[in-house]
């Protein structure tokens, strides 16, 4: 679906660092200095203990496939079939993403399969974090 645009995020003051991170090919999470909870999506206080002693940390980029569906309806920016997945980051939090770099079939998309982040530039401001099977990386 070249030429047609995905629905892109509009960073807010609390999330801007995350989108600056992906632009620089970094996946940034936050870690609570008080209770050590690592969390996503970004917010300026810990969702577990409300402490605002929060540090931004780089994620390893490693994840496993937690669950997904495969959409069979093409929309701007997406040619069906395409997966919409929730992945479990090695650091603990989950995030919604697309698993790319493999057939978009239930045979290729196996739950708990190891994944690694890749970065897909959309424009000068926005880069999306997507995931692909870990073995593709090697």
């Amino acid at each position: 679906m070249s030429g047609e645009k995905k629905l892109l995020p509009q960073p807010t003051p609390e999330t801007e660092h995350f989108w600056v991170g992906t632009k620089n090919n970094e996946l940034l999470l936050q870690k609570c200095g008080s209770c050590s909870s690592v969390y996503f999506p970004p917010q300026p206080f810990c969702p577990d203990c409300t402490s605002s002693d929060v540090n931004i940390i780089p994620a390893s980029g490693k994840a496993t496939l937690y669950s997904y569906c495969i959409s069979h309806v093409s929309i701007p920016g997406f040619e069906a079939p395409y997966s919409i997945a929730v992945v479990q980051l090695d650091e603990g939090p989950r995030m919604m993403t697309n698993v790319v770099g493999c057939p978009q079939t239930p045979e290729a998309l196996i739950l708990d399969m190891p994944l690694v982040v890749i970065y897909e530039k959309q424009n000068e401001e926005i880069t999306l974090p997507l995931f692909q099977p870990a073995e593709v990386e090697a």
């Binding site: 995020p9 807010t12 999330t15 996503f40 999506p41 569906c69 495969i70 959409s71 929309i75 929730v86």
Partner: protein, 456 residues
Amino acid sequence: MSKTGISIVGAAETTELGDLPHISQIQLHADAALNALKDAGLKPSDIDGIATAGENPVALVQYLGIEPHWVDGTAVGGCSFMLHIRHAMAALSAGYCKTVLITHGESGKSRVPPPIWPWPPAPGSLEGQFEAPFGPVGPPTILTIPVMRYLETYGISREQLAMVPVIQREWAAKNPRAWFKEQITVDDVLESKMIAYPFTLFMCCPRTDGGGALILTTDDRAKDLAGKTVPILGAGESAETALLSKMEDFTTSRAFRTSGKLAFDQAGISHDDVDHVMIYDAFAHLPLYGLEDLGFCKPGEAADFVGDRHTAPGGKLPVNTSGGGLSYMHSGMYGMYALQEGVRQMRGIAPAQIADANISVVHGLGGMFSASGTIILGSNTNPLDDPGVIQRTTKKLHKIAFRIKFDFIKKLERAMRFELTTSTLARLRSTPELRPQLYFKCYSTATNSWSIIVIR
């Protein structure tokens, strides 16, 4: 079992359901509201509390000519109407208002005008930043995502998932107002168009047009209204997250569990007491999550429970007896139609009426497993207290008297759990057409015992 002191005294859907390009959203609200008012024998000027979702309650205030003392615009998706009921129970109990109208109307198919909820979200919202860029198009591709983890965890097949719409079509076939009535097989479901694997078209609800409305008041006031009251026994509500990725566990909904427990605890009932269940079913997996999270089945056992036909016609726990969102109708915020079927079952007037149904659990979902509301309804207060029944039976037409007598005995049987008052007995005895051969059991709250009452 206990009562909350609040009853539903009016309930109706829009005159038409389905494909209604000639009716706008606000008129769907109004049509349902006027039907419910007529059902309760009330006028808009009798309403002093209003709640709605998907439409500004203020617009309804103006459109219907209401001067409210209480307004609730809670909008958390398709279960908003369950939450409205629970909020109205509190408001009525507190005396903030006396008679509450809850409306729903949605031009889900004809889109007159297009509903603004739920997609796409604002690009700066959490959903707009962390979900929308990855290509979901709303419920069919977000609400469906957890099921792969559920199927994998419990070793459940897509064939088992397909049984949910198959059995609901059996219920829909009994309902003249159902959108889909043709019977389908598991193969039909699996071979229908793929929407979002593992979900095919027949595992997804249709989009149709319609509305519904409910009127609530206190039991004291309900006594003065037409005798179709449905007591509310319990209610619960909860919410978990606006982002699917933040749902704690994809095999069970925290919002479902919390809401269900609150409702069961308030009603003071056990699962064995329940005669009828409605579980919000925009998609085929939701009744499975609902059966488990409400405690009717252990985790992972709902698919077998459905497959063994326990929720089907003739089964021990009838579920989604209107055909549900999958077959009856689904405007977008389906919760109102689940409530309407619960009320019909408790009034004994459902197209697929469950015999002797005295307790109905109606469970709703909002958003993408985001929120939940649960309402537990009781059966009509003692139908012998319904002046309409006595009045009709005193008509001398033999044919009508015979029919009423038959219906009356059935209602008596359903009423066994309720106290029979002295005044009712007197009225019954003074009704000649009913005197012969009448006897029934009744429960006395004075002596906490069952007795056989013989009418002479």
